[in-house]
Amino acid sequence: MTVATREAPPEVAPAPAVPGGRRRWTRLILPTYTWLMILYFSLPILVMIVFGFNDTKGRLNLRWQGFTLHWYTDLFSIPALTTALRNSLIIAVISTVISTVIGTMIGLALGRYRFRGKGAYDLMIFSAISAPELVLGASLLSLFVTTQFVRGFVTIVIAHVAFSVSFVAVTVRARVLGLDPSLEEAAQDLGADPWTTFRKITLPLLAPGIVAGALLAFALSIDDYVVTSFVNGQVETFPIWVYGATRIGVPPQVNVMGTLIFLGGAAIAVGNALLARRQRA
């Protein structure tokens, strides 16, 4: 999820000043509105974080009852929730590795070569990205039901790779298209064989795109409820468990886990942005 903007265009000059003070307060409307939107976006997250510290007595976590840290110390006291979180992490790692490898290869093939059938690849990737998750899940379930394939861990990984591989492919392809071919030519002129050129020049240059694709694949996998709910069988992942828990009330441990995942993700994103900035400087 890179939101790195390209070269910042020159600062926009504020619209020509109109004499009189009328403009002054109207100019505050949009920034105020934007900050209100940001507040609205963060509200459920703030609530999630704050109520992870709530000293609630029963299972229901509804009103503020005092500050406590014991949900942090009792983080793993609900065995089914812990198992679900572990499943999610394992599935995310495996599906990220697979989709990053094969997605990168598609990205290379599409970004670098012209070949017969390229249009079909493009169409397939475009459809896979734009197809509603519901349809992906329902069609995979149809396949597994028809072939009587037992649903569980393996089918979840298959499904997660199926929906994240296209995102990796388009991310890497964008990077391939931006490569300067003269760098590879220079390596070949200096006597590097194609494989060495690929390993020493192409791959390092593609690395940011591959990393971005992998992070995206990981985020998609660990967050997925819709597709997983069709193919999980008896295996529960973190989102599946939480969805089930919303019926009776979500225990504060979920708030804590959500908070930790949030902080981890935000730290990676900020770190990534800072790193990119330093490299550019």
């Binding site: 939101v3 963060s42 999630m48 070569y113 070949f115 493009d122 896979a128 519901l134």
Partner: protein, 289 residues
């Protein structure tokens, strides 16, 4: 890198093969299987047989047209709300964000760092009848005791709008950010006021972003079932909820397949009409940011 011979010509096929195979096996084939399943009849115990049972499609519509129509209506309302809410923000960040553009965008995208289900569960918690928001208001007598937001259309539409708003902000921002500010200045030099410069320069140039935003908001909203599942009630059931139930609880795979196919066909026709009108490249480019 020109094809030097037979072997070199094979390279792109070999490199693209594993991923392509995965997509064929687990994206294209399942769709075909689902289509075949949607024309079968039978039951879960004795198995299903292919009988060209088009009746599944008419049944799907006869039984669940309410939920179909409700999903489309919800998606239209939510997409409209998202567009109206997102445009001013995207506009301000793109034109006046200055050096902090990326920071603002990051703040807008913060929800994405929390699981979709947890975000929605958090809204359920906020809107709870006896929760920290409504509870005190009721105790103070500002709201009637039987006032509730959960299980209403308002809650579902609110949840959908919240969850899909960033999908609208991003493409709008990308389109607006591309507009050369000197075009706006030129409009002002030619004596256009702020309103008419916006209407005649900025708005038309941002239309690709509007189209892309509408597309990538409408499709997932129409097929969403998490929001109505967590925040809604029996009166807000969407087609996604029905499909999930018919698949997983009723095990009526042919009927569920027919419903999924109807939904997908309707949405895909929409997507490709849009893509045609805009050019696939542009839609792809925007959707990958």
């Amino acid at each position: 890198m020109s094809a030097r011979g037979g072997r070199a010509r094979l390279v792109p096929y070999l490199v693209g093969l594993p991923g392509g195979l995965w997509l064929v096996l687990f994206f294209v084939v399942p769709l075909l299987v689902m289509f075949s399943l949607s024309l079968q009849s039978g039951n879960a115990e004795e198995g299903f047989r292919f009988t060209w049972a088009w009746s599944n499609y008419t049944d799907a519509w006869d039984f669940y047209s309410t939920q179909f129509i409700r999903s489309i209506v919800y998606a239209l309302i939510v997409t409209g709300l998202c567009l109206v809410l997102a445009y001013p923000t995207a506009y301000w960040i793109a034109f006046y964000g200055g050096a902090r553009k990326t920071t603002y965008l990051f703040l807008i995208l913060l929800p994405f760092f929390v699981s979709f289900v947890i975000r929605t569960a958090s809204w359920k918690f906020i809107l709870n009848d006896e929760g920290f928001l409504l509870g005190p208001l009721k105790d103070a007598g500002l709201l009637p005791q039987d006032f509730h937001l959960l299980a209403t259309t308002t809650a579902v539409l609110g949840g959908l709008t919240y969850n899909y708003l960033p999908f609208m902000v991003l493409p709008l921002y990308v389109a607006l950010e591309r507009i050369d500010p000197s075009l706006v200045e030129a409009a002002h030099d030619l004596y256009a006021g702020r309103a008419s410069a916006f209407r005649r320069v900025v708005l038309p140039l941002s239309l690709p972003g509007v189209f892309a935003g509408v597309l990538i908001t409408f499709v997932p909203v129409a097929s969403d079932f998490v929001n109505s599942g967590i925040l809604g009630g029996t009166q807000t059931t969407m087609i996604g909820n029905v499909i999930q139930t018919v698949y997983l609880r009723n095990n009526d795979y042919p009927l569920a397949s027919a419903m999924s196919f109807l939904l997908m066909a309707a949405l895909l026709v929409g997507i490709f009409t849009y893509a045609r009108a805009l050019g696939t490249e542009q839609v792809m480019e925007v959707s990958q940011r």
